[in-house]
């Protein structure tokens, strides 16, 4: 098998004009000893450059601009987007001289070093070439899109998607870490999905976007697997390390799986056979997107990755047969289909498939000369294909059709477009002296020298046939659209567009000619740098038009051009034949595959995830139970050695209370109010249990939380049915009961096992006890944990608490606004009997008396919290309860009128105070949330301690108070909307006046 791979490439370079200097060990431009890229990484030639991360980040930052700038007009929007791209291009240009000298610019930022995931970027020749293409053509696309998009299209959205996509592509080509590269890889799939589906009103656009996402996303998954294997073999996820591990990788047993998975990723992305079908369907995108995706980005990402990993993956028989064969088949197939497509963009799409196949084939040959040609053709293809797509877009824009059968004779009507399209198409056909000719002839030369399965001529002949078809479809593009007689039945009479629309393709066409005429001056240096990076050896390419009469490539070229012209001449009968033969319809096959898969996954999802919480609980509980049983059965264990403590009478009574109440809750759970009372019993028991088990902090917290919960639930219950309807049958209840019992017994057994033996590891409690005073400045370990050791968690929690309260407020607000929910609320009738006073005098007086007492208790609990049970959380709840009592006694409106502090402000100030305290530690040169404390003597008080933790606790206090009050107040506001009356006095009956106080309807 290996014999077939010897591609006979080492000694023929005189013909193609390619020369390699690996043995000289000298780079061309400077003569510095930077012979190979891989060794260059370990030399002083590496330049640190922070700008790389900035280049990759710029498009993402720039993605924010269009949405804002569109308000200043379409041109401002395009200019600002272009400016960001231009800035990135400029930064890239500043790095270019170093890269061209053979150096590798690197930026290393540690992200998650434990996982080997770092934001490492590098820029070598290959990266420079691709980044240049992405940004350069990106700039032209931005210009083109400004004039292409219609007024009705949301342009800000378009540029945002485009910039996201540009950033993702740049990330791929600049990443030095393959995990980072994978992240960007997935980002290109996602952002291209948005771009392809940009015209959301078109079903083809949505379907094409979905198909592209499915195919490239699936390939991305395979790629993740392949890259992880590759990283494991190499022992690092850094490309610069992986690229030095050729021997280790190719001798590994895991080489083939890694290769297959990586190629799967590349082939799907680059639309290689048999994954080529998504690309034409992605044509539903606006033409600027197609031009960008097909020339410089997206589909080139797969090629880029193959080129990037070429040094370590290429050169084996597996690589040759998989990659070269796939490329060859894709090239032929794509070219054949392209010829018979009547849609301009479909023709170009399949021509892209074909050209990508060509490049893949060259990379697959595994020789340095072929890889160099591949790099050269990447440049050329980007130039002429972007120009062709743009001209196709112009034709569509002006003539309102892309159907070739309805076009023709446009050369008179659109002379400028005709000139641009002709130059680009001739280049695609490989006509001298344009740039496409140069790389295509080099390709044919390579193909002619390649032996496939001991067959010396097969690849050459097939490549010539591929070239022949590409000549035919290129000429068809020109002949059937622009040449021929002028017609009078165009859907819209076309004429040349304004300068803005044809400027970009004209520039590209100029490049096509320039590179074609003076390849050594315009492109050779870039090819050298890029090919040097791909092959790991210094490359000195010599490109010329005339190699004499001996090379096979000349005759192959001539055969291709002649054959192509003949093919075009026979187009009409051939086309009829093509239409007559049945072909597999890619979309139907794809839908046929995807539809059952979607049905299957929907079925699985529906079975597991049917919207019934009981089912989720059942599944989760059973899974945990099974894991526990498995661990119990498969492990070894002994009886615990701790003696059981004797059971005292009162705790036994408490236990009975808990057990009986819990069972009663299960039995009576349909009566909601009753259950609430029973839950109150459980809460009471838990609070007292905490106190009994020496956790006074928890006891205080729990009892306050219980009260707040009861009030909240009662407020909500007023608007809810008072009973829960029976929805499940006896069998299901039995099933759930068995599961619940088993899980309960399992949890109980586990706790029993844990408490009758020593812990396997030391608990963290000892550390907290030892360090609470010295580090946190408090003797109440629970409080020190809350405000210091785990202060960050507490900070997160109070933030969440504040958000939850705001959400409750927002939801209430939406109910109170006119709308369906509000209508239902208006129809709601209180079902309870209106008995007794609304605001009893006794209650009013009692709560007024308690208010100052409760606030004093709150302040007391807060102040001493750091050293003895208490703290901001409990204090906040106590004060909140005292305030809620006022609401209950005198009504919402009356109390709210006397309540001067806004609860929103309370929450915000709480979070801000806590944050400011945490940030304060920075000014001491310490990490966020490090607390400090000191002792102060203030006459006439005794010496007391001041800790920053107390300030943090104040933040907790304020947030808790604000959050509880805001949620209670929000819920009670609902009643007002339901048509309740409002009292003007604190109580209903004024004993002094001896009459009932008036109420006001609202």
């Amino acid at each position: 098998m290996a014999s077939g791979v010897v591609a006979g490439k080492q000694g023929h370079s005189a013909l193609t004009g390619l020369a390699f200097a690996p043995d000289k060990g000298r780079a061309r431009t400077t003569g510095q000893p930077a012979a190979t890229r891989t060794t260059a990484h370990n030399q002083n030639g590496n330049r640190p450059g922070m700008s790389l991360a900035l280049i990759a980040a710029l498009p993402f930052l720039g993605a924010l601009l269009p949405g804002l700038m569109i308000r200043a007009g379409r041109t401002a929007c395009a200019v600002s987007t272009g400016a960001v791209t231009a800035l990135a291009l400029l930064l890239l240009g500043l790095n270019a001289p170093a890269v061209l000298r053979g150096e590798v610019v690197q930026t290393r930022i540690e992200w998650l070093p434990q996982l080997g995931l770092n934001a490492n970027f590098m820029l070598d020749g290959l990266g420079l070439l691709f980044a240049g293409l992405i940004l350069g053509i990106g700039l032209l696309i931005i210009l083109y899109a400004r004039f292409y998009l219609a007024k009705a299209d949301p342009m800000g959205q378009f540029y945002t998607y485009l910039m996201l996509f540009q950033g993702a592509m740049l990330g791929i080509v600049l990443s030095d870490n393959i995990l980072l590269l994978l992240v960007f890889w997935e980002l290109t799939s996602l952002s291209s999905f948005l771009l392809i589906g940009y015209w959301k009103h078109l079903p083809e656009g949505r379907q094409g976007a979905r198909m592209a996402l499915t195919v490239t996303g699936a390939g991305g998954l395979a790629l993740i697997g392949g890259m992880l294997i590759l990283g494991n073999i190499a022992g690092s996820y850094d490309l610069s390390v992986i690229l030095t591990q050729k021997v280790a990788i190719q001798s590994s047993d895991w080489y083939l799986p890694a290769l297959l998975l990586i190629l799967l990723g590349c082939f799907t992305k680059s639309a290689q056979f048999p994954f080529h079908f998504w690309l034409p369907h992605a044509m539903a995108a606006p033409t600027p997107v197609s031009a960008y995706l097909h020339s410089a980005t997206m589909v080139k990402a797969g090629l880029f990755l193959m080129a990037r990993l070429w040094p370590v993956l290429a050169g084996t028989p597996e690589w040759f047969y998989i990659v070269a064969t796939t490329g060859l088949v894709t090239m032929l197939l794509g070219a054949k289909i392209a010829l018979f497509k009547h849609d301009l963009k479909a023709l170009l799409a399949f021509s892209t498939v074909s050209q990508l196949g060509l490049i893949t084939m060259l990379l697959g040959f595994g020789t340095k000369a072929a890889a160099t040609v591949a790099v050269f053709h990447i440049i050329n293809h980007a130039t002429f294909k972007a120009a062709l797509f743009m001209t196709a877009g112009i034709v569509d824009h002006e003539a309102h059709t892309r159907d070739i059968r309805r076009l023709g004779g446009l050369r008179v009507l659109m002379p400028v477009t005709f000139a641009i399209a002709t130059l680009a198409a001739l280049s695609m056909a490989g006509i001298p002296p344009l740039n496409g000719f140069l790389s295509k002839e080099l390709m044919l030369e390579e193909a002619a020298h390649t032996v496939w399965w001991q067959n010396p001529w097969l690849v050459g002949v097939l490549a010539t046939i591929g070239a022949l078809f590409s000549v035919a479809y290129s000429f068809r593009f020109v002949a059937h659209v622009f040449l021929g007689p002028m017609r009078d039945d165009y859907p819209h009479r076309p004429h040349d567009p304004g300068f803005g629309l044809w400027a970009a393709p004209a520039l590209l066409a100029g490049l096509v000619v320039l590179i074609g005429l003076a390849p050594m001056a315009t492109a050779a240096w870039l090819v050298d740098a890029a090919a040097g990076a791909v092959t790991g050896a210094a490359v000195e390419v010599k490109i010329s038009h005339w190699h004499g009469l001996e090379p096979a490539a000349l005759w192959m070229s001539l055969a291709a051009i002649g054959g192509g012209l003949m093919l075009l001449g026979l187009f009409a009968p051939l086309s009829r034949l093509w239409e007559g033969t049945p072909r597999p319809e890619a979309k139907r096959i794809f839908d046929g595959l995807v539809e059952p898969l979607a049905t299957l996954s929907r079925r699985i999802t529906d079975a597991l995830h049917d919207g019934a919480v009981t089912r989720y609980f059942a599944i989760a509980t059973l899974a945990i139970l099974a894991a526990g049983v498995w661990a119990f059965v498969s492990g070894t264990h002994q009886q615990g050695d701790h003696a059981l403590t004797p059971v005292a009478l009162v705790p036994a009574a408490g236990w009975a209370l808990l057990m009986v109440t819990t069972c009663a809750i299960v039995a009576l759970h349909r009566q909601r109010l009753l259950v609430l009372i029973l839950v109150g019993v459980v809460g009471l028991m838990v609070s007292v249990g905490f106190a009994y088990l020496s956790a006074p902090d928890l006891a205080l917290t729990q009892i306050s939380v219980e009260v707040a919960t009861v009030i909240l639930l009662l407020l909500a219950l007023n608007y809810l049915p008072k009973t829960t309807p029976a929805e499940s049958g006896g069998a299901r209840r039995l099933r759930d009961g068995v599961i619940a019992t088993l899980a309960g017994l399992g949890a109980g057994g586990l706790i029993y096992a844990l408490m009758t033996r020593d812990f396997a590891f030391d608990t963290i409690a000892a550390y907290h006890l030892a360090n609470a005073k010295t580090e946190g400045g408090g003797t109440n370990v629970v409080n020190v944990i809350l405000v210091d050791f785990r202060g960050y968690d507490t900070f997160g929690e109070i933030t969440v608490l504040g958000i939850a309260a705001l959400v409750i407020y927002a939801l209430t607000e939406s109910i109170l606004r006119p709308g369906p929910a509000n209508d239902r609320l208006r129809l709601w009738k209180a079902e309870s009997q209106d008995a007794g006073d609304r605001h009893p005098l006794m209650l009013v007086v009692a709560t007024r008396l308690i208010l100052p007492l409760a606030i004093m208790v709150g302040v007391f609990i807060f102040l001493r919290g750091h050293n003895l049970p208490g703290g901001g959380f409990i204090a906040g709840l106590v004060v909140a309860i005292a305030l809620v009592m006022q609401y209950m006694a005198s009504g919402f409106e009356w109390t709210a009128a006397r309540q001067k502090i806004d609860y929103h402000a309370l929450i915000a100030s709480g979070v801000l105070v806590a944050a400011a305290t945490g940030i304060g530690a920075w000014f001491n040169g310490l990490p966020f949330m490090t607390s400090a404390y000191g002792y102060v003597t203030l006459w006439p008080l005794e010496t007391f301690e001041l800790a920053t933790a107390a300030l943090f606790d104040l933040g907790v206090f304020l947030t808790v108070l604000g959050a509880v009050m805001l949620s209670l107040a929000s819920l009670s506001r609902i009643a007002l909307r339901a048509g309740e009356t409002v009292n003007l006095a604190p109580y209903d009956i004024d004993p002094a006046a001896g009459r009932t106080v008036k109420e006001e309807a609202r």
């Binding site: 109010l673 009372i677 019993v681 009260v707 009030i711 309870s832 009997q833 308690i850 208790v857 209950m888």
Partner: protein
Amino acid sequence: MIALALNFAFCCFGLALLFNLYRVIRAPVLTDRVLALDTMVINMIALLVLFGIKLGSGMNFEAALLFAMTGFVSTVAYCKFMLRGDIIE
């Protein structure tokens, strides 16, 4: 002597808790249950104080204080709910 008295008191309040429990579970009307829960809170306060005396620590008295101060709030809320439906009018 104090130990004996404490034990006697513990027994009494423990028994009281069980009676409360019975009343919470089985009662003619809802009001009885709410009252039983309220009594339960009072019994708990007593137990906490007794427990504090037994341990000789003042810590539990504060817990008892807080129970006393907040325990009645839920009772009021239940009552208001049963009488008028909306507890904050």
